[in-house]
């Protein structure tokens, strides 16, 4: 710690901090335009100049280290004059078109000029005339408003790891632009919009929608992935007009990805449900709430009155709904129906993580720590692109790498993480388990672990035996990477002082399975570490929460029916209540699910929009969207955060928990918790968080097995992978996100494209053993030979027609053939 005096006040700061940082962290404001704590100081704008005692020159406080005993003055006449001059220069070319600039009112430049500027500049120069560059879909660039502070350039390249923008040209004609002045083609995170201190970079979807001062801003939690970022929503006249991140706010510190920033308009999609519907013959007809509830009540009571009645009713909960909604569903099932048949789509994701970690460590909980990558020696990623599925967690991985961590990525596809990796082991799709086993084999053979400790753990000899089959040569055969690469990775990992293994598991990705978790756990235990070295985030905004609320078959006294029973086995149940989920689009093997759902006596679907599943229902109940109700979400870190009712419900839609409460009353059971508050209290009493510490360790050796083998008829593996612009299927209802990506594009390598006579951007027919769909193809060198890659987000692209789930938890990689269409 060092001590310095700023404006007569003694302040302390860490060694290595700049004067500006010392001041800001002690509540002293120094104006700045090119400083941002996420990027390396630049010292370009000079408005942060200060006087330092004993120095004749003014110094830029953002680029000068604080020294012990330094005496700094930040607001003297000399300093003010300098700032005034600097601003005067900045305005020489600036168009000062504040009346038509969306930034006006929250523009750093405007505010500083207002404080320090002079009414007239001494310079008369031609103003720059450059029409806004509106070529990009989401970000608009008006070069003449740019003061070349370089924050966007540095943020995009250093922090986001993208580098879509550069300073182009030199001298007066320098502009900030993408390469060759072409349309911005990037991650569309919009982080550069937030960081720009002027109106040069603007949110195109918000353009001319409202003056910032006419917006009411409210904070809530992002409805998409499980990072749980805080969105600051701008609302006017009851409509959400924009979303932005605010510095230091929430778990992400104000960072957002493009989904959180641009995707909220999914709630304004055209097919939002406004009234209940009841099926009359073949048609779904609008009804009143009373009719709908009475109808459900009658039919459900009838079904319940049969022998084993309650056994024949099931429910599916949702990561899109709040904890309160999910808890109410559980209460409804347990108290009104009397059944434990409950599950959610996380049966193919987070539930498997929980199950595996319970087997290995005896854990009853699993959270990640989004900051866990920071400061680690080695980060190992298995077949995942966390920068896509969990973008803000991904930023921390990149940050750790910048600060010196070794990043080893085992993945078949080129991703942002592989681009930034220290070692990219391009294993074949779906061979992560073999790779992990191979690493363990090297560690065991070379004695890179504490044998004494490890051999005392249950299952060690079995593990050692199972690894026999994973010699480097054998692993090379399976994964396609060289033995040297494998040995190198094993050594780096084993010799590191600290490490994490991270990957994702979700219904929309098919190259990993429960075995991947077990293999990764074995590796972690072998190296003498515990579950904190495994960072496997829950998938979506409230996946973790829904699970904790007991939306799973084993939450009650008896083991209920699970997702597979309810959706893939006809006749397993007679009635199904689906809240906030669209299994037909989201889950693999569409035709089977449709068949099961059609065989039901009663299908109730409660959702915000007319989904593919809702179209099959006997009754549809309209639910309020995430911004239309109060409640809580719990993110992958296990942090429970409030989401707020910010706007009125659409039509007659009601919050999910209220619908269930009303239905319970209609069926003659009054739920004790009639209010949200009562419900929260009950949750607090019922759901005890079992904090995860356990010393139990067991090896669970797993063998590598793959899904379908490619053959002559179906020569390609089909890999489903998420894309950055979407999270789950709801985001595909966002018009703004769809400007970037609105359909599933099938990516294939040039060699395969040639082999099957397919050209870039053409349409192809993709055929699997389960069905066929037509998709647009992209020829890409990011993907390897022998496999095609598609995202499963888009309901209308019908990827779930092609895929199938693995009921026992193994890899469910399909094979397909492609034909030019």
């Amino acid at each position: 710690m060092i001590e310095l005096t700023i404006n007569g006040k003694k302040v302390k700061t860490e060694k290595g901090k700049t004067i500006l940082q010392a001041a800001l962290s002690n509540g002293i404001k120094i104006p700045n335009l090119c400083y941002d704590k996420r990027v390396v100081p630049f010292g370009g704008c000079r408005v942060c100049v200060v006087e330092i005692e004993g120095q004749r020159k003014l110094e830029a406080s953002c680029a000068t280290l604080a020294g012990d005993g330094m005496v700094v003055l930040t607001d003297t006449p000399k300093v003010r004059r300098a700032r005034q001059a600097v601003l005067e220069f900045m305005l020489v070319h600036h168009p000062l078109d504040c009346p038509v600039c969306d930034k006006a009112g929250e523009c750093d430049l405007q505010e500083l000029v207002y404080e320090y500027g002079k009414p007239d500049g001494r310079f008369v120069r031609e103003k720059k005339h450059s029409p806004p560059d509106t070529k990009g879909p989401l970000v608009e660039l008006t070069a003449n408003r740019c003061i070349l502070c370089g924050k966007c350039v540095r943020l995009c390249s250093e922090y986001q790891g993208r580098g879509a923008l550069g300073f182009i040209g030199r001298g007066f004609s320098t502009v900030v632009q993408p390469a060759f002045g072409e349309a911005i083609e990037c991650d569309y995170c919009g982080q550069c919009i937030d960081i720009c201190p002027t109106g040069a970079l603007l949110n195109k979807s918000f353009k001319y929608k409202a003056r910032p001062w006419s917006l009411e801003e409210k904070d809530t939690i992002c409805p998409f992935c499980s990072c749980g970022c805080t969105l600051t929503l701008g609302i006017r006249e009851g409509k959400i007009l924009r979303s932005r991140g605010k510095e230091d706010l929430g778990v992400s510190g104000g960072n957002l990805c493009g989904r959180g920033r641009f995707g909220f308009d999914y709630i304004y999609s055209e097919n939002r449900l406004k009234t209940p519907f009841i099926r009359k013959e073949a048609n779904l007809e609008p009804s009143t709430w009373d009719e709908a509830l009475a109808y459900i009540s009658d039919r459900l009571k009838y079904i319940l009155s049969n022998a084993n009645g309650s056994e024949s009713v099931g429910a599916i909960g949702s990561h899109r709904c709040t904890n309160e909604d999910n808890f109410m569903l559980r209460k409804f099932m347990q108290n009104v129906v009397g059944s434990d048949n409950m599950d959610s789509s996380s049966a193919l994701g987070f539930s498997r993580v929980r199950k595996a970690l319970n087997m290995v460590f005896g854990l009853k909980d699993h959270t990640i720590d989004m900051k866990s990558p920071i400061g680690k020696d080695v980060i190992l990623i298995i077949e995942s692109d966390l920068s896509v599925t969990h973008p803000v967690f991904g930023l921390n991985i990149l940050k750790a790498k910048r600060e010196g961590a070794k990043l080893i990525v085992a993945d078949s596809k080129e991703t942002k993480l592989t681009k930034h990796s220290t070692q990219w082991s391009r294993i074949k799709q779906g061979t992560g388990v073999a790779f992990l086993n191979g690493i363990m084999k090297v560690i065991v053979d070379k004695g890179l672990f504490n044998r004494e400790v490890a051999s005392g753990i249950t299952g060690f000899s079995e593990l050692e035996k199972s690894l026999e089959a994973y010699s480097p040569e054998k692993v090379t055969e399976i994964t396609g990477i060289s033995s040297e690469e494998l040995i190198g990775a094993a050594e780096t990992l084993a010799k590191a002082k600290s490490r994490i293994l991270s990957f994702t598991l979700s219904p929309s990705e098919n190259t990993k399975c429960i075995d991947t978790i077990l293999a990764a756990s074995n590796l972690v235990i072998l190296l003498g570490e515990g579950p904190e070295s495994l960072q496997i985030p829950a998938e979506y905004a409230n996946t973790y929460g829904a699970y904790s609320m007991g939306i799973r078959p084993d939450a009650g006294k008896s083991e209920g029916k699970n997702l597979f029973d309810m959706l893939y086995v006809s006749g397993s149940i007679n009635a199904l209540y689906i809240m906030g989920e669209d299994p037909v689009s989201v889950l693999p093997y569409k035709s089977r699910i449709i068949k099961t759902l059609k065989s039901l006596e009663l299908l109730i679907v409660q959702d915000i929009a007319l989904t593919e599943t809702a179209k099959l229902a006997h009754v549809i109940l309209p639910a309020s969207s995430w911004a239309e109700k109060d409640g809580t979400f719990t993110n992958a870190e296990g942090v429970t955060q409030r989401v707020y009712k910010l706007i009125d419900s659409t039509g007659e839609a009601l919050p999910d928990w209220q619908i269930l409460r009303n239905l319970s009353s209609a069926m003659g059971t009054d739920m004790a918790a009639g209010t949200l508050e009562g419900l929260s209290n009950e949750i607090k009493k019922t759901i005890r968080s079992e904090k995860a510490t356990s010393n139990k360790r067991t090896f669970h050796p797993v063998l590598y097995s793959r899904g379908e083998e490619p053959d002559n008829e179906y020569p390609l593996s089909l890999v489903t992978r998420d894309i950055l612009q979407h999270s789950g299927t709801m985001s595909t209802r966002s018009k703004t996100l769809n400007l970037v990506s609105s359909e599933a594009i099938i990516e294939m390598n040039e060699r395969d494209a040639k082999r099957f006579g397919i050209s870039d951007n053409s349409h192809v027919k993709v055929i699997s053993r389960r069905g066929a769909v037509y998709l647009r193809a992209a020829v890409s060198d990011e993907v390897p030979d022998g496999a095609v890659y598609v995202p499963a987000h888009f309901p209308h692209s019908g990827i779930s027609t092609l895929t199938s789930p693995s009921i026992h938890g193994g890899i469910a990689m399909e094979t397909v053939r492609v034909e030019a269409a």
Partner: protein, 163 residues
């Protein structure tokens, strides 16, 4: 040079030992540009794209560095590069007329290249022989004292096929 074969460590030499990987890659850019320009006469977009992949540096960063230097070009250049001096001395002695005349004759503006890639017309600030003003250069050759007569010769020299 094939961009794919570029060896960063060899090109950067001993300095590479003391700077970080990113700086090594960035440091090698100018050399790479020069070599590419030698081979192609300019920096073609696709080649820069390959370079960007090869070095895993973002294209915008590469383009940013290249666009800083006047010596690098992003479109094909003519066989003959004609530079009309617009320095002070030449300006006073009628450089503007020379430029206008050439622009009219070849139907291109300064900074442009004729469609048949025969000639690129540029301006330059003082080539260092003000005594001969107004001056123009054709590739490496200097033509001075450009009056009416000389102008015709200049045009002829430009049109002349290269031997």
């Amino acid at each position: 040079m094939r961009v794919e074969d570029l060896d960063v460590n060899e090109m950067i030499g001993d300095v590479g030992k003391i700077i970080c990987e990113h700086d090594r890659k960035k440091g090698v850019l100018i050399h790479a540009f020069q070599k590419i320009q030698q081979d192609y006469g300019y920096l073609p977009g696709e080649v820069l794209m390959t370079l960007s992949k090869k070095l895993s540096l973002p294209l915008a960063e590469i383009y940013s560095v290249a666009s800083f230097y006047k010596q690098f070009h992003f479109s094909p250049r003519g066989k003959k590069v004609v530079r009309v001096c617009m320095g002070t001395a030449c300006h006073v002695r009628g450089a503007k007329n020379v430029l206008n005349a050439l622009e009219d004759e070849f139907g291109i503006k300064q900074g442009e290249t004729t469609d048949d890639l025969a000639m690129t017309l540029e301006t330059v600030g003082c080539v260092g022989c003000c005594g001969l003003a107004p001056v123009a250069t054709i590739n490496e050759d200097v033509v001075g004292d450009i009056g009416k007569k000389k102008l015709e010769l200049l045009v002829k020299a430009i049109k002349e096929e290269e031997k």
